[in-house]
Amino acid sequence: MNRFRKEFRLSGSGGQGLIVAGIILAKAASNEGYKVTQTQSFGPEARGGSSRTDVVISNNEIYFPEAQSFDYLIALTQEACDKYLFDLKEDGLLLIDSNYVKNLSMTVNNIVEVDFSDITIEKLGTALPMNIVTLSCIVKLSNLISEKALERAIKEIMKPSIHEINIKAMKLGFELSEQAKMMQ
């Protein structure tokens, strides 16, 4: 089997649930039998402030645990996008929320630009599971992790009382990824 190392960075502001999304992604990768590390960086605030989490997935020993040149970047604020875009690989995929990220400081080959927050509120009645919508979208596009493994990880990490809404969010994410594929 070819060696691979895929790097994800999920970035935005505190309270958007990105770190939970990162943990779910790491759990899903672990469920698939990959080596995985998940690291995070956050300020002192519980809500607001910048927040990011890195997930590195490999079929080999992972030495350096943080993402340095991303294969996948989720940016949910303009600030995060400005800060991390330059470290996206040339063939890397950028996923942004078009409501929050208006300007790109460089040209990007692969981009998914969707108003995730609006669609999440419209379809699910709350903006809370937007982290799962965006995560599921990028997981689907990455082709690394099966739908089943992701669903299992969501159920393992999250409280039972919010399983239903987040599974719906996951399915919504998958649908949006299909649309994104067609756009490309």
Binding site: K27, T37, T39, F42, P44, Y63, P65, Q68
Partner: protein
Amino acid sequence: MTKKEEKMNVPTEKNEPHTQLLQGNEAVALGALAAGVNFFGGYPITPSTEVAEYLSEELPKVGGKYIMLEDEIAGMCSVIGASLAGAKAMTATSGPGFSLMQEAIGYAKQAEVPCVVVNVMRSGPSTGLPTKPSQGDIQQARWGSHGDAPAIVLYPHTVREAFDLTVRAFNLSEKYRTCVTLLLDEVLGHMREAVVLPDPSTLRIINRLKPSVPPEWYKHYEENQKYPTPLASYGEGYRFHVTGLAHDSLGFPTNKSSEVAVMMNRLKKKIIHNIRDLVQIETFKMDNAKIAVFAAGICARSAKSAVNQARFDGIPVGLLRPLTIWPFPDDAAKKMLRDVDVVIVPELNEGQMCREIERLKMDPKSKLISLTKVDGEIITPAEILRVIREVN
């Protein structure tokens, strides 16, 4: 099945040894439980709090004691008290709390009370950067408390190793009757990694040796070269005295230089006569290396990545990594200095570990490069690789 059993890979029909996603701090808590911790006293502080959080949930379920004190000083003191009463006791903290605990840590070493202190290091000085990594407590872990106290300090670099070295920290503390420190990088404390934990029944656990002599013969500070040395607990018939003052073999205060010398010697001998048992190192691609990287904790992970890449490019470079940082692996470091032309020491401080290599460097021609970073970010493989290429 309890959460602990489920996580600890207790083999049951349903629960095959399995890969799980575990945080570094969580692995420390699980390692402590595997080693038999039954007392935690502490005070919350980022980035170590998850250790306390986990144990506050688990200890009451298994009859262990968890208490949150009014500050880190009290936390450390309660740990020593509990240990004297027979507990396997620990606390977990970070930089500012570690500073506050130093006096009591010195007491535990002077009075020879087994206990474990986990310090998940964060950026300093002072309050510094609470959520950012640093390796700034390497020298504090050795010399933080006043006086010449022995120091056993372990330093993991993966989540699995955090589990293993926590178990080892308890074992060494019981065996040598002293306070053992486990240093962790903030990155590792908060990092999640896919790991498989060992079956707890396969772990070697050292428990406290109880005295076999009747109470009237018992000298808890008797000159003894054998480890573990027996230690009674309060309430078991051995009504002994413990003090932080210089003391004789019965623990009573003494000013006699002959008795003080014996006591100080015993503290020293614990370490220098047992270097082989205490020091653990890892060598990584050191065969025929002309350049060596000497790194611990998270910097060793960056170094491994850099060494791999450099070896791929044909550069003869390797890594020497201490798992026991105190006592310092003098012999291994001296051998490294003899074998290679250049040593690079990357660390997240202003050169605290490099000082030790400097101390051991005999050949003026061999080159020592200190690569330091204190801005709250970790040293990347690219930064180490750049230095490797420059010196090649």
